[in-house]
């Protein structure tokens, strides 16, 4: 096939040209710089930066908290999506619109607001303090912030899947003798499973790179509550461009691996079905 199929619509050259130019300068060029900077280090320096105790601590926090946040959002996001699609209650439409708030709200604002609410004398923090639960300036706070900002992804991924489950399938299952729990377990859940996985993936990806909403509530103690993006910023401030780039590459690599794994999982799930068909 030639480069493109003929069409009577004009503007191909202009639009493709501009688009490619824009993407090259804004995306490709900077990324090239990143890759080059990160790989131009000495191998030993690279390993030293990337596997330093501080770096490892930050990976544990960033990826660990992101996984936890994504899992929490999987559960609560599902409950919220279920509630919004299945039950009617006063203010449902308002709640539905509010779900997108973390998406539209600047991360810095979320950051300082959450910190204030969960600080020791904050609205919620003051009730958790006597129970010995410290949220602000701990990994718990980091997880909480990450849960907030990735929540819309989980909910919005599951909602359309739930809406798609045909009522007739549930009705058929009921006439065949299934109780509500069985209907949920055997009919609804398998159908929305791909959407749940997608929601989890999106939430995780969003959480891993998060900066603004986390640095206020985390306290930024090295090896305890320091996230990887912050570590990158610190390297930059010390003009250690290469170190920063190295860490950046590691972040991208790990995210890439995780996303790939989940995509493979989804594809495997589909392939299983295909195999059964043969």
């Amino acid at each position: 096939m030639s480069f493109r199929q003929p069409s009577i619509l004009p503007g191909f050259g202009l639009t493709l040209g501009f688009t490619t130019f824009f993407l090259s300068t804004i995306v490709l060029l900077p990324l090239a710089a990143l890759v080059l900077a990160g790989t131009s280090m000495h191998w030993s320096d690279f390993v030293g930066t990337v596997f330093s105790a501080r770096a490892l601590g930050s990976y544990r926090l960033s990826f660990g908290a992101s996984l936890l946040a994504a899992t929490i959002n999987l559960v609560f996001g599902f409950i919220i999506a279920w509630t919004l699609t299945r039950y009617d209650f006063p203010g449902r439409k308002l709640v539905d619109a509010l779900i997108d708030m973390p998406f539209a709200l600047p991360t810095a604002v979320s950051g300082i607001a959450l910190t204030t609410v969960f600080a020791q004398n904050g609205w919620i923090g003051r009730y958790l303090e006597p129970l010995g639960i410290k949220v602000a300036y701990t990994w718990l706070g980091v997880t909480l912030a990450l849960t907030l900002i990735s929540m819309p992804f989980a909910v919005r991924a599951v909602q359309p899947a739930l809406l798609e489950v045909q009522r007739e399938l549930e009705e058929a299952a009921e006439t065949l003798g299934a109780g509500r729990l069985t209907v949920f377990r055997r009919i609804i859940l398998p159908i929305i499973l791909p959407a749940l996985l997608t929601g989890f993936t999106l939430a995780f990806a969003r959480a891993v790179g998060e900066y603004g909403s986390v640095i206020f509530i985390s306290g930024n103690l090295p090896m305890k509550t320091e996230i990887t993006p912050l570590l990158i910023v610190i390297h930059l401030e010390q003009f250690d461009y290469q170190g920063a780039a190295a860490l950046g590459l590691v972040m991208l690599a790990i995210s890439f691996v995780v996303l790939l794994a989940i995509n493979l999982l989804q594809a495997w799930g589909r392939r299983e079905q295909v195999r059964v068909m043969r």
Binding site: L9, V27, L31
Partner: protein
């Protein structure tokens, strides 16, 4: 049938034998859990912004906006948005036209590149520009020789913001234009209209709501971008601080009223964005 078309709500009510206490418990349990979760994670922080901003009274609130550094930050944010949003809109329209209207090899590469900034941490997004234009970056020496500052100055902030927000308009328009198809444009061409006329009179009206939504979202993210801008800005008060960065500075100085006052502006912007979203959806435009 009218009866059989009842919304999904009908699933949980109106059937014989379905009004047991278990069902009621599950129903109210779900609603309660959802609302509590949202209250803690969403509403409490939102409310806090305004409560804290007004905690010393209305006078202190207004006073916060008279600080010259704050005003400078607001000005900088507005200027950045005023440049970034139009550029990204043009890019979005251009990319959507190329991708939705034509079939060519390498389309999926293009789409992946467009989605890329959304998958990258904002810090990395900012860092790549430092690597290019910073002192030790690729063009660092050349820029210094010519006395041009990009990093730690307005151009750097704009570039970083542009990098992070350019996908939004494109991602709204591409599926929309793909869905709407080419028929009308092709009809216009056969009737003798030129490319620009077709674009302005046929395509643009069709996609106007998606465009509005994309632009509004792009604007909200541009004004609120923190991570990427933080890396390239240099944090020079009064010169290279956008509103989000200024919030950070005020907060770290324990000037809570100031920090939350500026935050309240951005929150109002977010609320406005959501209102626009709701209105756009009312017109029948549904996101994919």
């Amino acid at each position: 049938m009218a009866a059989a078309q009842a919304s999904a709500f009908g699933t949980e009510a109106g059937r014989p034998g379905e009004h047991t206490w278990v069902h009621a418990l599950v129903r109210w349990g779900c609603i309660a859990t959802s609302l509590t979760f949202l209250l803690a994670v969403l509403l409490a922080p939102l409310a806090t912004v305004f409560v804290m901003a007004l905690s010393r009274g209305l006078a202190a609130y207004w006073h916060a906006f008279q600080d010259p550094d704050t005003l400078a930050a607001i000005r900088l944010t507005l200027i950045t948005a005023a440049v970034v949003v139009p550029v990204n809109t043009i890019f979005g329209l251009s990319a959507a036209w190329a991708i939705a209207k034509f079939e060519f090899r390498g389309k999926s590469v293009l789409i992946t590149l467009i989605d890329l900034p959304l998958a990258i941490s904002p810090v990395i997004s900012g860092m790549v520009f430092v690597l290019l234009f910073g002192l030790h970056g690729w063009f660092g020496l050349w820029l210094q020789a010519h006395n041009i500052s990009i990093i730690f100055a307005l151009p750097g902030i704009m570039l970083a913001t542009m990098f992070v927000t350019f996908p939004y308009v494109a991602r709204e328009l591409i599926p929309l234009m793909q869905q709407l198809g080419n028929d009308e444009e092709e009809a216009a061409i056969t009737l003798g209209a030129g490319g620009w006329m077709t674009f302005f009179r046929v395509t643009l009206p069709k996609v106007r709501w998606g465009l509005v939504y994309g632009m509004v979202l792009c604007n909200a993210r541009a004004m609120g971008e923190f991570g990427a801008v933080s890396v390239v800005s240099g944090h020079i008060r009064g010169l290279t601080n956008t509103m989000p960065l200024h919030i950070e500075i005020l907060y770290n100085e324990y000037n809570f009223v100031g920090a939350f006052a500026v935050a309240s502006l951005l929150t109002l912007l977010a609320v406005l964005t959501l209102i626009v979203k709701t209105l756009v959806e009312r017109t029948g435009y549904r996101r994919r």
